[in-house]
Symmetry: D2
Subunit: 336 residues, 4 copies
């Protein structure tokens, strides 16, 4: 059985997912494309040699009977509309992050999905598909380090462009940690605090950099995340989980250890695209497999909502300098 | 285009490759199966839900017009026969190691392939498809460590069964190093010497363990490989390349670094099957892609011959205690 | 020239320092001893074969004309009294931490010392004498990582006895970090906050464990220190300094990397006494050299005061749950 | 009790040891000096402010009644003469390596010492006093890795001057390994073989570089040592002991791990003098303590002889390309 996929939004990420489905993954085929710029859709079709139809807009594409599943990879502001439409059409949908640009938008999706009676949505959080995070999750779940009590983490970029402003440290950068820690810990956040260390001279005027975000979970686990987006030295994701019996660290990306020029070391990545490149393949294959088996198991709409609510509280905490509550209902059974 | 594959030999490795092609890899389909035990072929067919025909023997399977490529995964003694037959039928063939059980058998295959005028054979050496070895090869080729002068390597198994005897340290264990160093260095061996350290108490009576194999290449690079198959502590593959400007090491397999029980450490593998598990996928995908593009680029018949000739010299060196010559003609242009 | 030293307090640490001076260090000799338990002083004298006089109390010892320098190693409550007396007698004094049990006590010592017109006091903070911290300090001072922006640190003990209660996490444990960060950063603290993660099941009822202490400095550097005194796995001191250009980590204690039992790892210390054992020698040798050269350069009274003031604010922050100010005048030129 | 020491040879190493005894070590004093260049002896005396007499030659110095122990730090060709003289005078002697320039010279010293009935000689092999080697020795002796079966080692210098020729790779470089492996393994060598890898372009015309020296011990342990004296990247001493149960590695020198410029690494040493700097202190302190206790426990004359005999065989193996026997009687009880 081959899953027939329609892609809404054929920009960089949409085109990349289409290529992945066509050349690398198994069990699916792109048969429909659309984009606000139809030339872009035509180009993807011809570049990949697809046997696909181009639709004038996402609603037409969703409506097409042969489409089993939809990829929503258009700009964020349109995500909610197409995800809800796909749900209403009873079709599976993989939506790139953010699920919606507001928490309310996410809530609307959750409501539509629960009303449909069936889990149809996977959100494009790829870190749970990274081999290192999977090992870390397995280690925690094995009980090897006992109950997690703290996480010390860091998300560092070598540098960011001038348009990157302080709230983007939450919405574009921390958002991945907000999702992945909930998954690692199987827990929800209750509060957030943000403090601003001395600013690096390498940061532009409109961004506070670095920032330290402190989260507390329902179980009382404390998380500190250093967000440092002009760290100069590389793209570096650190995660250390401190448990009652021991500590487990996210592995460094595989690298050659070299002795050279009076240095014993290994190269660090500098481009974020290289860090989770393999995880994108695994993530989308998992979506395809989930559709095939009629059982999605990846990041769901509730994860998307939780990330949105948490991010809003973090931005509020950036502005207030206070500890801000993160209010999220318990995860409904529907999403467990 | 989907490559139609026939599998000759549906034991453990054949069944595993069939599963791989069916569930994990793209661009190929198993349409024909045979085995000395036909029940085994039927079982693979039904386990994987294949739309495949079962043939009474390999020659019938090779003869079938719909088969584009053949996997030779039967017992070693029959490899030569079926590989030569596939070549004569003008079909691509992936042959598990050994290519043939004798150097002369490998020579026969090389001759048949050269006579056919077309590269048709890939040998199942998977290490060049391991992400770590690829990084190491890239590092050497980049010139980062300068010209390679030495390799220090080790191939260690936790333990081996009683039927494992001294020459198997070459034919079953070192054989992977014999292939991978040629590839890493782009060089050929000229001599081999084997010395026997003090024997571990954990070795059975019919195997000298550990052994140290020393190789010299045409360019003068010196290689020492510790082969230690009852090392107790794990399955461990080490490779350190010493160049004129620096040293590069094969990466350790990815693992969680943990602090626990007064230890700062990471788990080592104990089962060889886990070490190169990903490489098997990449290897066979590369074969499929090579067939699709009519351009095989993986380990070829000449590599198989080189490994066989080198292994014979190493076994002779085990027996003689002397430095034994390894005589191999220059690689023909056909195989470059 | 041999410095003549009197030891006030011959309990464990006093006896150990006397042994050090006698057997390991150069340039000094213990010629006077006292203790509230005179038998203890006699025992140290005879154990070490000292040519020393026993005095009925610290004041008599300080008064003795032949004594060049005094070690105050009696119980903390008596430190202030003897340190001030030594200063008034114009004698050098090495005082084990705490310099005094209250900030006011430390202030009294600072005033007496400044009134004397001469630097006479060294406080027993040994970490600046640890080879790893020295390397870290040198790295920071070299500019290799640029301006320090953050420190992530941890102070972990395998376990603590029942009498260890929450404020001791500051006064007995964090106190070392409070001193060493000021020295590393050449900066002062302005505020402290303490948060309490989920409590480990291994902690006794009267101690919150772990705790995270967050400090801000005058220059804006942010420090987070995990204090975890029942971490089970070992005694572990971590310090990572994040600068504008890179990150430098305190080295792990030297250890054998071993491959054994499917583990690639190194042993961690479990006893705090092993961690800084060498630093105690270097610390006291530096005091002796400072006395010899009439120029003390180690941790001074002002450091003792700063640690006391900071510790008080941290304890207040433990109790209040608020961010508490740390108010300390600028370091007087006298102490620079 | 203060040991009174006379120094024969006040060149670089002699002056350094005199400084060590005077400023850093405890329990000894330099009271006599001599050198072929008497100005040099006078300079050391005045630089260190010694209360010492200058003697016209080593025999006068040895004869002086107040001298308890002699340091022989003159040029190698004169070692034998003065060591034997010291023995005959019943005085302790610390002799820098080589103990003598020929194996026969070492035998003469051994005979003289045995005839004297008392262990009087320590040879200046400092590696057993290195903290890392001590840990490695302790690990082996603890049984943690089981019986040692192999050692893989390397001795690398960044570069050597033009006067460094092939046999110096043995006499000046490998000599330290020849001593330290005997001590680590508590075993003797029975044969040596040397092979010459492809030569680095950085080596001068009169030195084969790198070289690999292979040793076999009485117990059958096999040792391979890469000697690479123009390795460019640093001064690097590697030692990995492979035992029946696991593998233990000599620790890297303590260093700051840094993340900077897309590198996660630590600095390597480039100057050999930095590598064992601490070991020199410990070595000479051990000699002083041994004299004080009338019980020398460091490297002895027999170690010096063993190193000389082994080195001669290695040089012969360099020249012959053959496996050369190393013939050394069993260690006499006198030296156990
Ligand atoms: Mg994604
Ligand atoms: Mg294979
Ligand atoms: Mg102290
Ligand atoms: Mg020496």
């Amino acid at each position: 059985m081959t899953i027939k996929i329609g892609v809404i939004g054929t920009g960089a990420i949409g085109a990349d997912h289409a290529r992945r489905i066509t050349n690398t993954l198994v069990g699916a085929e792109v048969i429909a494309l659309t984009d606000v710029n139809l030339d872009s859709a035509h180009k993807v079709k011809s570049d990949l040699g697809l046997n696909a139809e181009i639709y004038p807009d996402g609603h037409d594409l969703i409506a097409r009977s042969g489409v089993d599943a939809v990829l929503v990879t258009c700009w964020g502001a349109a995500h909610e509309e197409f995800v809800v439409a796909a749900i209403k059409a009873g079709k599976y949908v993989f939506c790139e992050k953010p699920l919606a640009t507001t928490a309310q938008g996410c809530r609307n999706i959750v409501e539509a999905e629960m009303a449909s009676g069936k889990r149809l949505v996977q959100v494009g959080f790829m870190r749970p598909y990274d081999s290192g995070y999977k090992m870390l999750k397995d280690t925690i779940d094995s009980g090897a380090i006992g109950e997690p009590l703290m996480i010390h983490a860091a998300h560092r970029n070598a540098s960011v462009p001038e348009q990157y402003i302080s709230p983007m440290a939450i919405h574009d950068t921390l958002i991945h940690e907000l999702d992945v820690f909930r998954w690692l810990l199987d827990d929800d956040y209750v509060s957030a605090q943000v403090v601003f260390p001395r600013k690096t001279k390498y940061a532009h005027s409109k961004v506070a950099d670095p920032q330290i975000v402190m989260l507390e979970t329902k179980k009382g686990t404390r998380i500190d995340v250093e967000v440092f987006v002009n760290c100069q030295y590389g793209y570096d994701i650190q995660c250390s989980v401190v448990g009652e019996e021991g500590i487990a660290n996210l592995p460094e990306p595989q690298a050659i250890v070299m002795r050279k020029n009076a240095n014993l070391g290994q190269q660090l990545l500098t481009d974020w695209k290289d860090r989770f490149i393999d995880a994108y393949d695994v993530e989308l294959q998992d979506f395809i497999d989930g559709v095939t088996n009629q059982n999605l198991t990846g990041p769901n709409s509730w994860s998307g909502l939780a990330a949105a609510v948490s991010a809003d509280a973090c931005v509020k905490a950036q502005e207030s300098g206070q500890i801000e509550a993160i209010e999220l209902p318990d995860t409904p059974d529907f999403y467990r």
